[in-house]
Symmetry: C2
Subunit: 416 residues, 2 copies
């Protein structure tokens, strides 16, 4: 038998259970999946069509970006350093009204995907409007993505009548459900302050009926609790629980302003969290209690958020910032160590969006979502510990090769 690809002679950081690392490691790829991994010399007798030499490079799973609004790269740097309401009402919303259309959504989604692939991201979890055009960009690019059609109780791009918002989402999911093994349609309810309880419950029911991920922004800002009608003294998390929104199929994005009791509710209901530290920092939203959630066993993934509030899709800088932010916030240098942080950007991210059987680590039977990182550079020499090097020293520009589902999409740091 002749295999498709052998990536060999690299430092293999698998991110599989127990975090095995293999020096002079290799990964055997067949039919887009991982057939085996181990020491390079274990594969010396194997016939392969293509050998990729990873000498002096790290072989690791592709990174997973758990929260994006891909088309918003069109607004990268449009309006920074402003109060949240001015930023949203005077800049982002008017710009969206003027510039968001099916063509711009597809164009800038492709742009964002290119940026993500070049920086080592092989899977993203997106939510926006005209999501069919985001899906089209995903399909033509070769990236793996969850794509969530937005639901909001206001007129939105492509959904001028809010009464049709859930139907539009259901139609989107139905249209794209079995289109490609790389595309996972989803429903993205904007937030509990922009969706009524009826919208929230109907959208959640539709997501569960369709068997797709339900995404929602939760407790991003301190003021959000005051924007929600009918909380009746409940916290936002208690409110969502009371509506039956929280289960293992729900991705709670941000989750900044939650207390210990809320965290217990999230764990009890097996809900998942997407942590977006750079966005939360830049918009001055607050610091999510992520080390606590992780300690409780809640799957927490890492997200960049949209480019209007970050302003990039770089998960290497996001990891570095996440690790450092929580250390200083808790005045504890031991929290968010490099292993925990890299897990958040790989296997825990995969869990958060329900794709951990498919991606997020290098293991036999998973799909071949693999990147090579060249750390033979002044900024990453010497290397005492690969996890420290990846989180604290590596840069997105060190990514040389990106493979999604066995297909090489970036080679020598350039799009194929």
């Amino acid at each position: 038998m002749e295999y498709d690809v052998l990536i060999e002679h690299g430092l293999l950081v698998t991110m599989a259970e127990g975090l095995p690392v293999v020096e002079d490691g290799a990964v055997l790829v067949e039919n887009g999946g991982i057939a085996a991994y181990g020491k390079t010399n274990e594969f010396s007798g194997h016939k392969v069509k293509t050998r990729i030499n990873a000498h002096k490079k790290i072989i690791m799973p592709g990174l997973i970006n758990c929260h994006t609004h891909l088309p918003m790269s069109m607004f990268r740097g449009l309006a920074d350093d402003l109060p949240l309401d001015v930023w949203l009402n005077d800049h982002v919303f008017p710009a969206e009204a003027k510039h968001v259309n099916p063509e711009s959504v597809e164009k800038w989604s492709l742009h964002s995907i290119k940026e993500m692939l070049l920086s080592g991201t092989t899977t993203c979890c997106d939510g926006y409007f005209h999501e069919d055009r985001v899906a089209a960009a995903v399909l033509s690019s070769g990236i793996r993505a969850v794509a969530g059609q937005g639901v909001i109780d206001f007129p939105a791009p492509g959904v001028p009548d809010p009464k049709m918002n859930i139907k539009a989402a259901v139609d989107f999911v139905t249209e794209f459900k079995n289109r490609s093994s790389l595309l996972y349609p989803s429903i993205f309810c904007h937030s509990p302050y922009t969706c009524s309880r009826e919208t929230l419950t109907s959208a959640k029911k539709a997501a569960n009926d369709l068997g797709v991920l339900f995404q929602i922004h939760v407790a991003e800002t301190k003021n959000e609790v005051h924007l929600i009608q009918g909380l009746g003294g409940m916290t936002i998390v208690e409110y969502l629980e009371s509506l039956g929104i929280l289960d293992s199929n729900t991705l709670m994005v941000h989750s900044v302003w939650i207390d210990d009791n809320d965290m217990g509710i999230i764990r009890k209901n097996h809900a998942r969290v997407a942590h977006c530290p750079e966005s939360n920092m830049k918009l001055a939203s607050g610091i999510a209690p992520v080390p606590g959630l992780i300690k409780m066993g809640v799957p927490v993934g890492l997200g960049t958020d949209g480019c209007a509030s970050n302003n990039d899709h770089d998960l290497f800088s996001e990891m570095d910032m996440a690790a450092k932010l929580h250390k200083v916030a808790l005045l504890d240098p031991c929290v968010m160590d490099a292993r925990t942080t890299l897990k958040m950007a790989t296997i825990e991210g995969a869990k958060a969006i329900g794709l951990d059987k498919i991606t997020g680590s290098i293991e036999k039977g998973k799909r071949a979502d693999i990147i090579l990182v060249d750390l033979d550079k002044p900024h990453a020499i010497p290397m005492y510990d690969p996890y420290s090097s990846i989180v604290y020293s590596a840069k997105s520009s060190d990514v040389t090769l990106v493979m999604v589902d066995g297909r090489i999409l970036v080679r020598d740091g350039k799009p194929v």
Copy 2:
């Protein structure tokens, strides 16, 4: 007359007073200095030996790293995510005792300088031991640097007898004082908790007598105040003021645990501050009240600190992190806006280390410390505002050309 170099057709971000920006801008370089800047077409009649096309690139002053321990790149990633005392006593100090010698200091200083130049830093302000070897690396590399010989009341590398610590520093300054216009020797007192009041006052007097910068770590950690003998109820800043340490020739590194009264003392005495957000975050030291200091008019520069606590010399990521950290810490998205942050890494950094007549902005008469940044990349497109793009989107890997004192040290992103 024939000029040396014309850098032309770039977006010129000068960082001069009033922050003039010139589209299709150009900088004329002669004898290592800036002869003029303006629109490219203003120079169409000039004869020049070398024309550098900066089309689609930003032309800006080289970045200034106000706090480094260059040789410590040898310990990059050696021991991360540990409590401060374990990190220092069980890892950094033993590693220093074992590995720090004149040869390793020079070797890893050269390594760090290479990393800095590649990432757009043209000036650094260093402090360590065997600083003569750091100085040798500076001289052979072509970078501009303040180099401070360490003073500490313990046996130190190259200074086994602490009684000789000030003499060693004075000898160092004397030896290197007029060696090169790119090297500025300095005295670096480690801290008020590792130096007696006699050592502090003698070292400060020596620095002022010699007319060189006095550097000192101040109030880096919350516990530091308990480590200092004889404070008698004073804060650390009050103590330093009482010793006559604070003046416009003193660079206070870190300055994390200072209160409003301390900030008033710093301003009154015209002392300067080096802010090292990534180091303070990673070591969980705390968050320095930098927006307040800047508002008061204190010159604050940006520093990476040594590679054992960062783990790199990348001022682009340091800017991004500084801006975002203070926004979330103060829950105010307007503080540390992109202009303020870029000033900290350029002209304000130059002020902090006393070199603002020489570098830190592109102005006629200053030395030609200039970098080109290629933002025609997916992660930086579109560009609405160059300051936002530089601080929030640009990466160190976008630096294509680095000129120090008119000499090109990096071209096409590679060392010359």
